[in-house]
Symmetry: D2
Amino acid sequence: MKNEKNVTATIGHFIDGRHVLDTARTQPVFDPATGLSHKSVALASKATVEQAIASAQAAFPAWRNTPPLKRARVMSRLKILLEENADQIAALITAEHGKVLSDAHGEVQRGIENVEYASYAPELLKGEHSRNVGPSIDTWSEFQALGVCAGITPFNFPAMVPLWMWPMAVACGNTFVLKPSERDPSSVLRIAELALQAGLPPGVLNVVNGDKEAVDTLLTDPRVKAVSFVGSTPIAASIYATGCAHGKRVQALGGAKNHAIVMSDADIDNAVSALMGAAFGSCGERCMAIPLVLAVGDVAADAVIAGLKAEMAQMRVGPGTNNANHMGPLVTQQHFEKVKGYVDQGVAEGATLVVDGRGLQVAGHEKGYFLGACLFDNVKPGMRIYQEEIFGPVLGVVRVKTLQEAMDLIDAHEYGNGTCIFTRDGEAARYFSDHIEVGMVGINVPLPVPVAYHSFGGWKRSLFGDLGAYGPDAMRFYTKRKTITQRWPSAGVREGAVFNFPSHR
Amino acid sequence: MKNEKNVTATIGHFIDGRHVLDTARTQPVFDPATGLSHKSVALASKATVEQAIASAQAAFPAWRNTPPLKRARVMSRLKILLEENADQIAALITAEHGKVLSDAHGEVQRGIENVEYASYAPELLKGEHSRNVGPSIDTWSEFQALGVCAGITPFNFPAMVPLWMWPMAVACGNTFVLKPSERDPSSVLRIAELALQAGLPPGVLNVVNGDKEAVDTLLTDPRVKAVSFVGSTPIAASIYATGCAHGKRVQALGGAKNHAIVMSDADIDNAVSALMGAAFGSCGERCMAIPLVLAVGDVAADAVIAGLKAEMAQMRVGPGTNNANHMGPLVTQQHFEKVKGYVDQGVAEGATLVVDGRGLQVAGHEKGYFLGACLFDNVKPGMRIYQEEIFGPVLGVVRVKTLQEAMDLIDAHEYGNGTCIFTRDGEAARYFSDHIEVGMVGINVPLPVPVAYHSFGGWKRSLFGDLGAYGPDAMRFYTKRKTITQRWPSAGVREGAVFNFPSHR
Amino acid sequence: MKNEKNVTATIGHFIDGRHVLDTARTQPVFDPATGLSHKSVALASKATVEQAIASAQAAFPAWRNTPPLKRARVMSRLKILLEENADQIAALITAEHGKVLSDAHGEVQRGIENVEYASYAPELLKGEHSRNVGPSIDTWSEFQALGVCAGITPFNFPAMVPLWMWPMAVACGNTFVLKPSERDPSSVLRIAELALQAGLPPGVLNVVNGDKEAVDTLLTDPRVKAVSFVGSTPIAASIYATGCAHGKRVQALGGAKNHAIVMSDADIDNAVSALMGAAFGSCGERCMAIPLVLAVGDVAADAVIAGLKAEMAQMRVGPGTNNANHMGPLVTQQHFEKVKGYVDQGVAEGATLVVDGRGLQVAGHEKGYFLGACLFDNVKPGMRIYQEEIFGPVLGVVRVKTLQEAMDLIDAHEYGNGTCIFTRDGEAARYFSDHIEVGMVGINVPLPVPVAYHSFGGWKRSLFGDLGAYGPDAMRFYTKRKTITQRWPSAGVREGAVFNFPSHR
Amino acid sequence: MKNEKNVTATIGHFIDGRHVLDTARTQPVFDPATGLSHKSVALASKATVEQAIASAQAAFPAWRNTPPLKRARVMSRLKILLEENADQIAALITAEHGKVLSDAHGEVQRGIENVEYASYAPELLKGEHSRNVGPSIDTWSEFQALGVCAGITPFNFPAMVPLWMWPMAVACGNTFVLKPSERDPSSVLRIAELALQAGLPPGVLNVVNGDKEAVDTLLTDPRVKAVSFVGSTPIAASIYATGCAHGKRVQALGGAKNHAIVMSDADIDNAVSALMGAAFGSCGERCMAIPLVLAVGDVAADAVIAGLKAEMAQMRVGPGTNNANHMGPLVTQQHFEKVKGYVDQGVAEGATLVVDGRGLQVAGHEKGYFLGACLFDNVKPGMRIYQEEIFGPVLGVVRVKTLQEAMDLIDAHEYGNGTCIFTRDGEAARYFSDHIEVGMVGINVPLPVPVAYHSFGGWKRSLFGDLGAYGPDAMRFYTKRKTITQRWPSAGVREGAVFNFPSHR
C-alpha cells in the first residue's frame, strides 16, 4: 500500500470552497475494468467532518437569507455547467464505477434534471396564506430552511444520487455536507467545483470522503439537522434509527428486489427488450433494476425466456469506455465474488440456469471484474436468489398462474421499491397499480423511476422515513414549516389618534 | 385500593366497535377539584393492545378501498354528533381534568375543527398528474393509506389532541389504535362511540387505555406503521427513537416554554389581557401556554407587571364546573406539588415573586389541587423557572433591553414550540417572525395555535419528525406516496389489427 | 287562461330573505305528466331584478368580511337540511320537470355534493405566500370576493345546476342573484328557504323568476360582476358576448351532442346497459346525455343494436311520480313536438328507425308529453339528427371502421362537452383521452360528469369562458386575485431608536 | 416622407421562422431623443396576419405533443440567450422608445424572469388526480393547450410585455401570433430570432407588425382561441367585447391611475425616494407608475413636497443612451403634446404647479420629445389631471385628512391597477391591503409589480377578464381543463378467463 500511495494521486475533500487533504487514512480507488488502482481516497477523520459541518454552519445564515430566486439561479447556472462538462463527469464515473459511458451520460442527465427542478425553488417554496382565519386575523405558513443537512450516498450512481439531495436542499436555503461513496468519489468532487463556479458560496456545499467514522460523525453531531441516505437496507435501517435517536429527521432509502409481471396479453417483444435493459443495464447495480420476472402462464414464460435468450446471445460485455459494449464490469472484486456466489447458490438451490455468464473472459481485461449476464428459469420464493438483493447481472424468471398470485408474491417480499407490469389490459394495470404494496409502479415501463418533478420513494423496507427523495417530497423534507398568526391592534395611525407622531424625524 | 374498586366504575377499552374490559391492572381516576376518585381505568396488557391492533389490521382493507368521499362523510356526520354532544363531552373533561367548563367547551370546539378538516379528504388527497413526461408516457402520484396507525396522547387536552390525529388518519384510509392519557380517559371513549354512530366501521378506530406496557407494544409491533405522540420532550425523544428504530414513521411533539415579547410600542392593555389568558388558562397546562414574558425596556416591563397584578387580583379560582371561575385545579396532587415546588425554587433563585398564589384555599374543596396564579418579576435565564416547563399557573417576566436580546434568548432555549410579539410596528413583527427559531409565531396573538386547516408543529426539541400535526402536514404524514408511470404499447385494437378480437364473448 | 289564473298559486321571487310577489306578468307552470297547470310563475320586471341586485349589494360588505370558515359552515348546515328535505325537493322537481322521482333524487344528491365542496372553502381559498421575493420583501396573493354575482339556469336540472353556482360563489364571499328556469322554479325557491334556515344572511342569495327582461337586466347592470349561465349554445354565445361587452366575467355553458365510441373489444353487455341510462335517462334532457353511438366495426354495431333493442323492449314510460318507470314525459308540449319532429326528420333523411317510440300512449295520462324511446341505425354526419342537439329520448348509431374515424367525427362536431369510449385496451383509451377535442372524457363511463371536487366544462361551442363550473375552477371564477408586496422600513422600534415612544398611552 | 422611405430600413414580420416583408403599407419609426426617423415598419395586411395564423396552426399539433419538459428547456435556453444579448435588446428599446438604457435593461431583466417562470412548465402543468371517486373509478384533470393564441402589446414595455405572454403560452403547448406596438417593434423581433435559436420550432412564435387591420384579424379569426392584450382602457374594453363576441377567451389589461398613500408615521425620506422613481421612471409611461400621492395630514404633505422638490432639482433629463440621465424623452411628438396639455390643464383647473418642467430644452436634442418632470400640489378629485391617465412625468399631490378618506378616493376611481401605502404601522397596512379595491398593493413598495412567479392583474376597469397576466394565472389562461373519468370493466386478462388470448403474436 505504501508504495502505491507514492505513485497515486490522493482524492481529498471539498470544504468551504477549497480542496482539503487529510491523509491520515486513505484507501485505494480501483478501475473495475482493469482491476488496477492509480489513485486513493482520503478517509476523513471526525475532526475533518466537523470542519465541514462548521463550514456549512457558518455559511447558513447568509444563504438562508438569500432570496429563493437567487438561490434558484445558481441551480440554473449549474445546470448549464453540468451540460457543458457532462463528458468529463461521465468519464470519471466510468473510470471508477465501470459502467458504460453512455450509461454514465444517462446518469448525469438524470442528475441534471434534479438540478433543473431545484431551479424552480421560488414556485416550490410558496407557503399557504389564509386571510381572516378569524375577524381581521391572518395566518400563513412559510417553509424555512433547516440548517446543515447531510447526505450519504452509494457507489452505484456516484453523480446522480448526490444530485437527488443537495441541489434541493440548498435551493431551500440549507447548507450541506455530502459523504459520497469512497469507491468512486471523483465525479461528485468535480460537480462541487462546478457548483462553486456557478455561484454557490463557499461552505454551502461541502464534500467529505470517508467511512464509518465520517458517517457516525454526521449522524450524531447536533448541528446536522437532517440526513438523507441511499444504500442497502440493513445500513438504511441503522442510519434511520441512529439519526432519529439523535433527534434528526432522516430519510433512508434501502435495497430492492423489483419484480416485473408479464401478462399473457403483453407485447412480448416489447417486454423482452425492456427487461434486457432493466436487468442488465449498469450490471444490475441499480436499486430500480429488475432482477425478477413473474411470468403469468407458461405461454408467457416460455416466450419471455426464448426472447431473453436470443437477445442475451447478442450482448457485448467489456470496458465501459467503449460505448459499443452493453455492460461493463462489476464495481469491485469483492462484489464480483459475491454476485458470482449468488449464481452458484441459485444452481445449488435448484433454479434452472438458462444462460450462464460466469465463465466470461474479456480479452485484454483479464483482471477486470467482468461477469456475463445470467438467466435463471424456475426461480422460486424462498431461494436466496429470490429473496436477496444481488445487485448484479442476474435475472430470474418465476412462473405463476395468475396476476393475483404474482401480486401476492410481490407483497410478501421484504422490499417494495419498484415494480412493473406488462399488459395491454386497462383493468389489469389499474388493479395492479392500485393494490400493489410498492412505491413506484410501471405499466409497460420497466424502470419506473419518477421524473425529477415527481418524487422517488419505495415502500416497506426500501425506504425509512415519511418523505421520498427529490421532487415535491424533497422540498418538504428539507424545510420546516413555520406558521404565523397575525392580528394588529386597533391603530392610532389609522384612526388619526397619533396624528402628530413623526416628531422624531 | 381493593375497597375502592368495589365502589368505582372501571373504564375499559374500545376495540372493534365494542367496549372491552381487561381489569388485571387498573388505576384510579381522580376528580382534581375534590381529590376524590370514584372510578378507575383499566391498564391494557400487551395482549389487549395486540387485539386492538389486530382489529385495526382486519378493518384496513375494506376501509382503504372505501372512496374518500364516503370516508369524509363519516367525518361530517361525526362533526354534527360532536356538536350535539358537546356538553356531555365537556363535562367529562372537566370531571377528570379539572379545567373550567367553558374552557373544556373550547377544547371540544377546536377538536371539531379538526374533524371538519378531515371531511375535506377528497380535496386533500388529490395526487399530481403529468401527461407526457415523455412521448405518450404519463406519471401520476397517489397518496395511499399506510395501514394501522397509532396515537399516544396527553392528559391536558384529552379530547382535542386525539382529534388532531385519528380523524385525519382515518379520512386518509388508515385504521387507528389510540392510547389516551390514563388520567382523563372518558371523553375520548365517548367520542369513539359517536364515531361508530356516525358510520365509522368497527375496528377503524380502537381505544386502549394503559401505561408503558401499552405504549411499548404500539412502538414495537410491526403491524403499526406510524405513531403520533404528544407529551413531554424526554418521552417524545424516546418515542421517536424507539418508533424509528422499529422502522415506523413517527411524529413526536414534546414540551415548550413559550416566550411572549412585549415591545415598548405595544398596546399594553391588550397585551396584558392576552397574557392573562395565555398564562393562566387551563392552569397553564398547555403546550402553547405563555409562561414567560420578555419585556423590552423597563417602561414596558413596569406597565405589564402593573397590569397583570391588577388583573390577577380579580381572578377567581375554583371548581371547573362553575363557569364563573377563571381557573380550576391542577390535574393531580403530584403535579400540584411539582408546580408549587417550582415557585419555591424561583424564590430561592432570586426572582421577585410579585403575586404569590401558593396559599390559596378554595372553600369546600380543601382537598382539590388548587394553586393560585403566581407572577415573578426579574426572572433570569439559567433559573430553573426559566429553563424548565412548569405546566402550571406561573408567569415570569424577564427584563431585556432590545428586541434582539429577546430573540437571542428565545433562540437559545431548548424548546421552540410557540412564541409571540406584541407591537404595532410592521418591521419589528416581520423581523421577528422571519428569524425566530420557533415553529408557531403570533403577532399580537398570544396563543398562535394554527387553525385546523394549517398545521401544528414546534421546532427544536418541541417536535421530533418531519411533519406537523393536523392540517396539510397530517395528510402527508398519514399517507405514503405511490408514483405510477404508464405507457401503453401500440395497440392492435386502436389500429384495427385485432379487429375480430371479441370472439371470446 | 284568465280563469285558470284565478285558481292557481303564483310563484314569486326570494329577495333579501323574503318571498316577494311581482305579478304584473305571469306565466303558467305545467305538470308534464298531465299537461295541466295549477300554478303560475311571476316574471320579474327590471325593477324587481334591480331590487334583488340592490339586496345582494347591501349584503356584500358584511358577508365578504365574514371569515371563510363561518361561511363554509353555513354550507355544512345547508347540506344537512338538503338531505333532510330531499324528498320534498325531488317531488317539486318531478311535478314541474317530469323526470322520475329516483332521478330527481339523484339530481338533488349531485347538487348536495357541490354544497359539500363549497364547505371546504377555508382550504380552497388559500393564497400563495412567498417570503423574500427580494431582501426582506414578501409577496402573497389573496383570492377576494367579486361582489354581486348572477346565475341563469336551465329547466333540465332545476335544483342541481343552481347548486353548481351559488354555493361556491357565496362560500367565496360573494352575494348572488339567481334566475332559474321559469318552467320549474319551485325546487330552487325551497332551497333558498333552506339556505336562510342554515344561516345564510338575507340578501346573500336572491332568486328572481323571469324571462328576457330579467336576463337583460342582470347582464347589463354594472353592479353585477360575474355571470354564470347554463343553457343552449346560441343563448350561451349571446350571454357571453353581452356580459363581456358590459365588462363582466362570464362563463356560459351551452349545448352538446355527446358521442360514445364502442370498440370491438368492449364489454358489450356493460356498454349497452350504460348506454340505456345515458341515452334515455331523464328523457335525454341532459347536456351530458349520449345521443350518438359510434360503433367501430359492424360486429360491434350489430351487437350494440341487438342489445339496445332487447333492453328498450323492457322500458316502462309513465309519470315520474312512479319510480317503477324508467322514463317520464318531456318537459313541455312544445318540446315534445320538437323532439318528435326530429324523429320524423331522421326517417326522412334515410336513417334506419330500429325502435319507434312515437306512438306511445300512457294510459290515464293521455295529455302528458310522453314520447317513447327511439333508436336509429345508420345515422350519418350531416343529417340533422346527427348535427343538432335533440334533447330527447332519441339514440342514433353511426357505423365507423376505425377509432381514428370515430375521433375525427367527434372533433369535427360543433360541440365538445362530453364523450366516452368503451374498450378494454389501455392504449386505445389513452390515445382517445389525450387527443379528443372534448372537455369531459369517460373511459367505460358513459356520463363523465366530474365529481364535485373536480370541475365541469366542455370545449368548443359547449363552453364560452376560461373557467369551468363548480370544483376548483369555480373558486377561481368567483374570486379575483389580489397580490400584496410588502417591505417594512428599518424600524425605530426594533432598533431602539424610538424607545420612549409610547407616551401617548 | 417618400424620400425618407428610400433611406430607411423597413422592419417586417417574423412568420414561420423567417423574416417576411409586406410593404404595401408602412409607417415611420422615430428616435424620440432626436425626433428623426431612419426606419419604417410594415403594417401587415389581413392576408399577412392570416399567414401568421396559418403558420401557428400548422405548428400546433407537433408542439402540443412535445413533452412539457422539452418545451420548458427551450425557455431555459432562451433565458440564457436573452442574458447574453441583453445589451443589444436594451439598445433597441432605447433607440425606439427613448427610455434610459439602465431602465431598458431593467425591462429586459423583468422579461427574462417571465421566461424563467415558463421554464417551470412541468411543475405548473400538473393536473389533479383522484383515485376512487367511486369504487374502482378514477378521475383526473389535464391542462391542455388551446391552440393558436394571440398577443397585442403596447409601446411602453416593448420587450417585457410580450414576454409576459408568449413564453407561458408556448410553454403550455400553444403556438402564438404576437402583434407588438408599431412604435418600437425591433426588440421583440430580435427576441423572436433568439427564440428560434433556442430551439423553438418555426411557426410556434410569429410576430406581425401592424395596426387596426391586424388587430381586427386576430380578434375575429376563428383559429385564434385566446387573446391577451395590454393597452389603454377604452381599447381594452373594446378588445374584450370583440374577442368574447367571437367566442374567444380574452384578458385585456387597460389603464391605471395609481395612488400612493403617505401616512404621517411613514419614513418620509424613504417614501420620497421611492416616489421619484415611481413617478418619473420611464417618463411615467408605465401602467404601474405612481402619478398621484395622497398625503394624510398636512405635516406629511408638506414634508413630501419639500422632499420631492429637493430631489427633482437634481434630476437630469436627456437622451436615454446616456445612463447618467434619470429620464429620457416621451415616446412621440403627439404624446409630448398631450402630456404637456395635461399640465396646462392642471394649472387652469387650479392645482398648484410646484415644479414646472414644460420649458425644458436638452442641448443638442432640441427636436427630441423631452418634457421636464412636473409636480402639482393641491390636486383635487374631479380635475382631469386627477381622473385621467396622463402617462407622463407629472406627479400630483392630493391632501387628505385620514386614511379612510384616502381609501375612499382610491375606491371611487375608475381604475384599480396598483396602489401603495407608506407607513410603519401594521394595522394601517393590513386594513388598507385587505379592503382597498385594487389588484396589486404595495406596503412601502412603490411599484407593486408582482414577481414573475405571482400574477399581474388590476381590478375595476384596469383588467377585463378572469385571469391575470403571467405567473400561475397565465398557466390557467393558456390551457383548457380536460377531465377524464375512468373505470375498467372486469377483465378477462386479470381473472384468467382469456388466458390463451395472445394468439395473434
